[in-house]
Symmetry: C2
Subunit: 296 residues, 2 copies
């Protein structure tokens, strides 16, 4: 007889994704435990679910509790914006941890990778959302009815190249291109804030495209680019014609609702193949011709 | 007896730089003719100077007038934001020109390079601002009293690497880094708009730095990154600790006023050496160790 799946802890970032994950995993008959972060996690996430509210800095308390709760696997869900210094104020274990990794991790990625290593040394298995719910991972091809035309396809290729290059430098995951011109590139402000400013930057004529790709060196278990209905709505408000996200390298939250919003607002949403695999060398450069393939 | 210097046409972008150039060149006893662009050039620029107001699209009219005015040399001065389609509505000559270079020049740089080639084929010599006024070019070292400390120096190196990489892709010239985190990268919104959003993105602790570098493939005769007092004031408002601009690859408008503003607001302003020369291969990558050297 196979062992039952070990208890899963969800380290819950912002948005509705953590609650969706909790519900889906419990629906599979599996026990979950949610770690919620003050000021980041939506309180609705923990309703009716065993949980702990914590500061980011209280790593010692969190890890002890995960042991006490007999957690076997840990998953990161939802965007984790870089916490403030107060939120990071360390307990004794976190102090030791920060002393080891250095407080000056370059980019969000460096810090998250260090957290993953720490959890693994404590005996937890860190899994990716896509391992729990395979249908969350963006598939190649269109999500709604619409497809990019040839000009949008060229914009997608250029935006993918820029986003990939920035990602390789651990800067951000997104870029907006209109008619060959890079309107905006994403750093810590996030995709929604980037889209906000595009409304004022757009040129007459065919609208631009948003492309989000995984950082090439990024562990798929942490912070994959995510899109949902809000992204589609914000892109429409910014005057864009569509969105392309990396197939196999991004999460699509509620595919049916995204397709409905895309069709209703007249945008295309496509999953694109982006060159390079998870293990590819960071910053190796990105051949333009592989940036995006026409969705099937 | 040496020939007198030929008449100089100033293609005037925005800001106060074109008027400064006109005054300085006339102060050298040289005749100037200003081409002003509706909606872009400050009207004060043309006061008391022979000039033509024009649309960008009227290249045929402009070139004919430059011949009629016996212009020998042409200089670009002041930022030229990508014009709208209406402004670009071509006359017959511009139509021919656009048909040749393609309407889809990637980035501002491609279009400007094509304009330079066109002017040269018409027999004009296109010169750089730094050839006219050598002291405009940023020199290595501090402009005011203050210098970056070791942490600011590391932020400068990272920002220079990011800005240089983006520049190689013809995206933008600037980036803001605080404590190793890339707060913002510049695309078409321009430096001032990028600085605006940094106020909300900044973290507690030591402030960030703004770095502006020349696009590595960029012709020094067009659109060098420029900084002046406004840049210093906006950087201070955004909570930054200082500014680093590429020595020999950027223009410092009114050095004395910049030094005064930097000292008054408590920011450092330094010229930094950035790896790679004008002829270096675009997109070749940028070795981090050469990103910035400690100013002397």
């Amino acid at each position: 007889m196979a062992d039952p799946l070990p208890r899963l802890a969800i380290l819950a970032g912002g948005g509705t994704l953590p609650a969706r994950i909790a519900a889906a995993v419990r629906g599979q008959g599996r026990e979950v435990f949610v770690v919620a972060f003050e000021g980041h996690t939506d309180p609705a996430t923990v309703e009716g679910v065993p949980h702990l509210w914590s500061r980011f800095g209280a790593a010692g308390t969190i890890i002890q509790r995960l042991h006490d709760e007999r957690v076997g696997e840990v998953v990161f869900a939802g965007p984790v914006r870089r916490p403030s210094f107060t939120e990071l104020l360390p307990d004794w274990r976190t102090t030791r941890f920060l002393a080891r990794v250095g407080t000056r991790a370059l980019g969000d990625d460096g810090l998250l990778r260090a957290v993953v290593r720490e959890l693994e040394e404590e005996g937890f298995r860190v899994v990716g959302l896509h391992e729990l719910l395979g249908d969350l991972l963006t598939r190649p091809g269109p999500v709604g009815r619409l497809l990019p035309d040839a000009e949008a396809q060229r914009d997608i290729e250029r935006a993918a190249q820029v986003a990939r290059t920035l990602g390789a430098m651990d800067v951000g995951q997104g870029a907006v291109v209109q008619q060959g011109i890079v309107l905006a590139v994403e750093a810590v402000e996030g995709t929604d804030a980037m889209l906000d400013r595009c409304a004022a930057l757009r040129r007459p004529g065919p609208g631009g495209v948003l492309v989000k790709v995984r950082k090439p060196q990024q562990d798929r278990r942490i912070d994959l680019p995510t899109m949902g209905v809000t992204t589609v709505e914000n892109a429409a408000r910014a005057g864009l014609r569509g969105i392309a996200v990396e197939a196999g390298g991004s999460l699509l939250v509620d595919r049916a609702a995204v397709a409905e919003a895309a069709d209703r607002l007249g945008l295309f949403v496509v999953g694109i193949a982006v060159g390079g695999e998870a293990g590819s060398e960071a910053g190796r450069g990105f051949p333009g011709g592989q940036a995006a393939e026409r969705p099937a």
